[in-house]
Amino acid sequence: MNEPHYLQPLLPTPFHSRTQAACCTALWSGWAGYQSARCYTHVEFEYFAARNQATLFDLSPMIKYRIAGSDSLPYLNRLMTRDVGKLAVGRVAYTVWCNDVGKVLDDGTLFRLDDNEYLLCAQDRHLPWLQDSAIGFDLEVEDVSERFAALALQGPTSYAIVQRMGFDDLMSLRPFGWRRVKYRGAELIVSRTGFSGDLGYEIWSAPDQAESLWDDLMAAGADFGLMPMGSDALELLRIEAGYLLPNADFMPADHATRASRGRSPFELGLGWLVDFNKGHFVGRRALQAERAGSGRYTFVGLDIDGNKPAHESLIYHRRRELIGHVTSAMWSPTCKRNIAIAELQAGREAMLDDLWVEIYLKKELKWEKLMVRCRVVPRPFFDPPRRLATPPAAY
């Protein structure tokens, strides 16, 4: 490990023998130092499998922190913007946390494992911040990323597959809940969470059970159209679901070299995650001042005319005045709409009825410029009733 980082090969995840075998495209990317498949067969097969059948996605590289000790709750309430006190054992919460000036450092999911034990899952590494935030608290923060092999089983038939696996007791599991289930003499954690905006589960196992878990799930899912999915298809799912992605839709404040690039929860449309009534939390004073004044930006969903994705497009009022830009865009095959997530300057409400996006389009190596009408629409773009139905339907 003394090699410089650019000479170190990406690490295999616990599922590597299986993902490697399944990956026909040899399209891999690096994720938190691990080798992660972008696409196994074809991005459209995988996308449609996720929307109509089910897919298996290896999310082992996700960074996981265990927070345990008598001060866990006060610590997390001081760290996070939302009221963690409302999170019961057995539940999971989507959460963001901010720096001193109220700009978002990252988002993640927080599992309450026990009265004084939590698991925080995030895209990026944050141990120094989490540990320095623990000054004055009695607890331990530990990086437990390597103790878990994790899979996302997402799609309409995912409940039928976990039933076939013999995971009892998941019928009553509501969205954002988790249960322990027996599996081959050990225990797994199954949570009804995911990044697809659809019915689905995430399964957290010990690394030494990873290969058998993959095999058993693929076998159980054979009749239900289950196929492995890479991160390219996941990107499409999450845009339809309206979820924000750090480093794509916003710069995590500690990655930004330009101080103005940080975004507050309000500016990201995540004001519902900020609770000013729970006592002090990091960034509270700055966020209170911001709420009293106004944020600089606002996040919106866009419905764009035509079918050409508005990747990284600029947004104009009356075709002239620049008032924002697209952060994520796609043609949504399920919604049959040309959708985008966009950041607009705040205080432009009066201009929303006359918005245009400038789309650069390469048609067989020739660039064309389109100026296309768009409208602000609510997110998520895709939100089927089956996502929340409890008990879920066994399609």
Binding site: D132, I135, G136
Partner: protein, 522 residues
């Protein structure tokens, strides 16, 4: 919630706490001052260390106490008498005669090298002009870097004061501000004795050696005493430094401050991001709209208030303030006056400095980097009983010495090495006053760790945290908190951990009172 009884509670009765409380009471605030010890003064105290012998526990001379505070608080009317003013500084030397300097150049004595006196006077005149710029900054609440009128005016004023020095002086100040004292002294002077003593002045109370950058600045900090608006000399209050605090205490009480001693504050309470009062050791809760802490920044923010009420990055910055003291204090009760070789009786009243050359000071400072004590320490000696008969029985004397460098944490552990270090110091003293060891009746050594324990100063650091360009003005104690007001509404700092820093000045206390009163205005 308890009903609010006081407008302000001042936590800690050091000189800055007393000054701050006094100014608040004069502005018709109802003020309670809580001091953990049985007497006020904090580290600026005079205490008995042997039957019949009393000594100033930490600082044993007063250079920097602001004369306008003395006048405004009428300290003379409240019993402050100086037993000596304009004390000379005497560079002890084994090889050559001693050299003595005084704020009055005509009193300087000893054998000066040809032209050296002139060079020295020119250097000091220039440094005094620079120190005057600093002195002016010291009497004001530092600005913040935000686009508000008052802040911009303050920044422009500060820049203008530097510009007004004139082109040559301004260029020189900017050239040397971040420099090390050894290079500056080598450029300007020739006499080792003189250079050694001035280098000592620059590093006193810091963890720096004379070849460390920033030591010209720490020297300028000390030279603020020579600015026209300052007292001008080295002084000693009758009854020791504690007598200054006694006068401050009487003045504060006359102004209406309620002082409670033996009342240790355990925590600063707050609710909904606003200070509500303090809890004292017996569990009593006392309500107040504002709490002003004379304790050091780490103690105040991380212990009394608690990191939970603060943001993570701010906590990091407070935690990172260097708080490990390096100065120890040796107190000797002596039954007869020792003879310092070559020192005449007039000089003996002053401060005698063992720092014979720059290399000696540098070598002494090396130890601290590696968690060791200096076996050949630099020492500042005073025998205050020569001009203050209240400190020792008739015919006997007190010798008070500041000894550097003694680490807060000795790598080998202080336990067994405490006496060894005291012996070391006395052996060095004996090189300059051979008859001293036989006259010692009693000795007391206060290491930084003792000072921390006795006076509640984190790390036993006299200045409540290192001084330096990066820890001064808008940056003291940390950026964003240099205006005395802390992030929790109603909480202020008023001690040496804030601008303008250490030394018995009183300016942090007065500036803090101004900051408190500025927020009280509608």
């Amino acid at each position: 919630m308890k009903s609010v009884r006081y407008d302000a509670i001042v936590v800690g009765g050091g000189h800055n706490g007393l000054v701050c409380a006094n100014y608040l009471a004069r502005a018709r605030q109802r003020v309670l001052l809580l001091e953990a010890a049985d007497q006020v003064g904090g580290a600026a105290a005079t205490e008995s260390f042997a039957p019949g012998f009393r000594v100033s526990s930490c600082a044993h001379l007063v250079y920097l106490f602001d004369p306008s505070i003395s006048a405004e608080l009428k300290l003379a009317d409240h019993g402050l008498v100086w037993s000596a003013v304009d004390l000379p500084s005497v560079a002890l030397s084994q090889e050559r005669a001693v050299l003595s300097i005084s704020s009055d150049p005509t009193l300087s004595a000893g054998e000066w090298m040809s032209g050296e006196h002139k060079r020295f006077d020119a250097l000091m005149a220039r440094m005094t002009r620079f120190a005057s710029v600093l002195q002016n900054l010291y009497t004001r609440v530092p600005p913040r870097l935000r686009n508000r009128r008052g802040d911009i005016v303050a920044l422009v004023q500060a820049a203008w004061r530097i510009r007004r020095l004139g082109r040559d002086d301004m260029r020189e100040l900017l050239r040397i501000a971040g420099m090390n004292i050894a290079d500056l002294l080598d450029d300007e002077l020739n006499d080792d004795r003189l250079k050694g003593m001035l280098a000592f002045d620059a590093v006193l109370g810091t963890r720096l050696g004379p070849r460390a950058p920033n030591t010209v600045f720490t020297w300028l900090h000390r030279l603020v005493s020579r600015a026209p608006a300052a007292h001008g000399g080295i002084m000693h209050p009758l009854g020791g430094v504690g007598a200054l605090c006694d006068a401050l205490s009487r003045s504060a009480q006359a102004a209406g401050v309620e002082i409670r001693t033996g009342a240790r504050v355990e925590s600063i309470m707050c609710d909904a991001d606003r200070v509500t009062g303090v809890r004292v050791a017996d569990g009593e809760e006392i309500g107040a709209r504002q709490v002003i802490s004379n304790a050091d920044p780490q103690q105040t923010l991380l212990s009394l208030l608690g990191a939970r009420e603060l943001d993570t990055e701010f906590v990091r910055r407070v935690r990172d303030v260097p708080m490990a003291g390096t100065a120890a204090k040796l107190h000797l009760a002596i039954d007869d006056l020792p003879t310092f070789v070559g020192v005449d009786p007039e000089q003996a009243r002053g401060r005698l400095v063992i720092a014979p050359n720059i290399d000696y000071v540098e070598r002494a400072s090396n130890a601290i980097k590696y968690g060791e004590y200096a076996p050949q320490p630099v020492i500042e000696i005073t025998i205050p009983s020569l001009h203050d008969s209240t400190l020792a029985p008739p015919g006997k004397h007190v010798l008070s010495a500041i000894v550097q460098y003694a680490p807060y944490t000795l790598r080998a552990g202080w336990g067994a090495h405490r006496d060894e270090f005291a012996d070391c110091v006395i052996a060095v003293l004996a090189e300059y006053a051979p008859d001293l060891p036989d006259k010692i009746v009693e000795r007391q050594l206060l290491l930084p760790v003792d000072i921390e324990q006795r006076y509640g100063m984190t790390g036993g650091h006299w200045h409540h945290g290192e001084l330096g360009l990066e820890r001064f003005w808008m940056w003291r104690p940390t950026p964003g908190a240099a205006q005395y007001q802390m992030p929790v509404e109603g909480l202020f700092l008023c001690g040496a951990g804030c601008h303008p820093g250490g030394g018995v000045m009183g300016l942090a206390g007065r500036n803090a009172a101004r900051a408190v009163l500025a927020t009280a205005r509608p």
